[in-house]
Symmetry: C2
């Protein structure tokens, strides 16, 4: 018999979740059915979008089911297989995270692409967050090399790749980050840095200083005052790719939207919300071909914040909302 240890939530939180929301449980796994695989996880991903799945409201992903194992991106090694193409020892990416041993239909797991990078990169820079950055810039915002690009939360998992990809393309890039250390990292990579933990008016004047020519593309990860300031700085015909609004994920009551929303009209802006699976579908190979070599050759730098041990998964998740991660937040399991 194999046991799986996993996290659940027993209720839908309002506001910022507390650590006590998360229950740590154990169950015996049933025998493998035909077509299934059993995976010992080595790396787990925690991501801001998971907050939405805790709310019990269907948005663009199904809500987590109460008292059932939570889900999320994970990387592990197959320890038992009843699937034709997958064998013991294969390393795979899948959505059976927040647990140590996952049991899934083999068709729901993906073997690692053949690119020479550390495996956990396929949860970050070459995984969902990286693809999100690439899809938002390339397909949603239709980035051109002459564009001035603003990226909020530009030192996060998605933002740090978006900033570097835009800089690689030759764009002028402005990135926002909430701490001095993060802004120094951005500046060391040729990215003009501003602080997004300010009033909309203060962000507006910061943007006037670093981008007097205005913004053509805004890659939106945070919402709130940052969106208001960006609307103010946008040039005519600007494009806003709305990837996330982390500032709003833990609000229990709605707060006012941008008072200058009419800029969408006066500047003829396009504002497009997207999620990676829908827009990126069918473009995975192009993504690996364009971004894979840049990562393998060290041209694109990626950062990870790693928590050790399955028990730390909720802490790693909650740390995302304090902004205490640098780049991709991961949990490493000591199998």
């Amino acid at each position: 018999m194999t046991q799986s240890r996993y996290f659940t939530i027993g209720e839908h939180p309002e506001g910022l979740p507390e650590r006590s929301l998360f229950n740590f449980e154990t169950r015996e796994l049933p025998e493998l059915k035909d077509g299934e695989v059993r995976i010992r996880n080595q790396w787990l991903s925690v991501d801001p979008y998971m907050r939405g799945r805790m709310s019990g409201v269907k948005t663009y992903v199904e809500p987590f089911r109460l008292n059932e194992p939570m889900e999320g991106g994970a990387l592990g090694e197959i320890i038992e297989s009843r699937h034709q193409q997958l064998k013991k020892g294969d390393r795979v990416i899948h959505m059976g995270g927040w647990r140590d041993v996952a049991q899934l239909d083999g068709d729901q797991v993906q073997p690692l692409p053949d690119i020479d990078v550390p495996p956990q990169a396929f949860l970050g820079v070459l995984g969902m967050p990286g693809m999100t950055a690439w899809v938002g810039l390339t397909l949603v915002a239709e980035l051109k090399s002459s564009d001035t690009v603003l990226i909020s939360a530009a030192s996060g998992a998605v933002g740090s790749l978006a900033a570097q990809l835009a800089a690689q393309k030759g764009c002028t890039v402005i990135g926002s980050a909430g701490s001095q250390e993060k802004r120094e990292w951005l500046e060391a990579h040729g990215i003009r840095a501003i602080d997004h933990h300010q009033s909309a008016d203060d962000i507006k004047s910061a943007l006037k200083d670093v981008a007097p020519q205005g913004i053509d593309v805004y890659y939106e990860n945070v919402g709130g005052p940052m969106l208001e300031a960006a609307l103010d700085a946008m040039n005519d015909f600007g494009r806003i790719a709305v990837c996330g609004m982390i500032a709003r994920y833990n609000e229990s009551a709605p707060s006012a939207g941008p008072s200058n929303i009419a800029a969408v009209l006066t500047k003829r802006l396009r504002m497009q919300g997207f999620i990676v699976h829908e827009w990126g579908k069918g473009h995975e190979q192009r993504f690996y071909e364009q971004v894979g070599p840049l990562v393998a050759d060290g041209i694109i730098e990626y950062r990870e914040t790693v928590e050790e041990g399955l028990e730390k998964t909720p802490d790693a998740f909650l740390a995302l909302f304090e902004g205490s991660n640098d780049g991709k937040m991961l949990v490493r399991l000591n199998g």
Copy 2:
């Protein structure tokens, strides 16, 4: 010598302009230069966008110059010509409105298209407002016959055509209007009507009643609580064509934006501001071909509110913000 009587503004108004803002003046016109024409206007157009031109701030149109003749759509007859193709007696559309006699470069005027409708239709249903309705639905929102469409200010010059065009296409159409009489007109044309002079919450429940299936396309003319309610009712992958936000044109201080702006992300919406000249350029012939016969055959009904006499032009303009017009607001000049 020919005199021209015209309106000017001497300062940039804040909030809703007062009637006293507008000065009525007279000047002698200089002799015609080579290539110029002199036009006696018969119909003048007043439109909400003109409020933006009064603010002294460059938005998508140049501001009106203080103490110079104001401008706007107009239709008149050439009374003198030094232009090769244009001759005395030709009827033309041009931007030399807010005056009785206009003197313009002949290249800036457009002969009436050959469609059998009353001439003033080329200032309304077959002019800028009509083209705005058609461009927003067809090119910006990419309307499909299976869509449920919400149109705000649906009895206005732009909205009433958008509503009928969408209904002609086979769409389910919901229109908002601020008076019982206007809503009855909508309902008589097969359009489900709601009141947009309500709180966002009340508009939300009205929308749930008339469109329980949700909204696929929102044609935005008013902003404010209506936009918030529409965001709430939008279906996934909905498109919002932002044509106007008349509720905000006279605000001297910004008011809060929609508190549910994050719906752009969760529902993967596209919100696109547009103005007719940029998006419609090169599509004029297609517009006349598609909409012209519908108007000539009486399939599409258009309404006009007509004020008599040049002196009434400012009153006609201000009435737009009271919503007292039905359909296109026009001023008729008595020779």
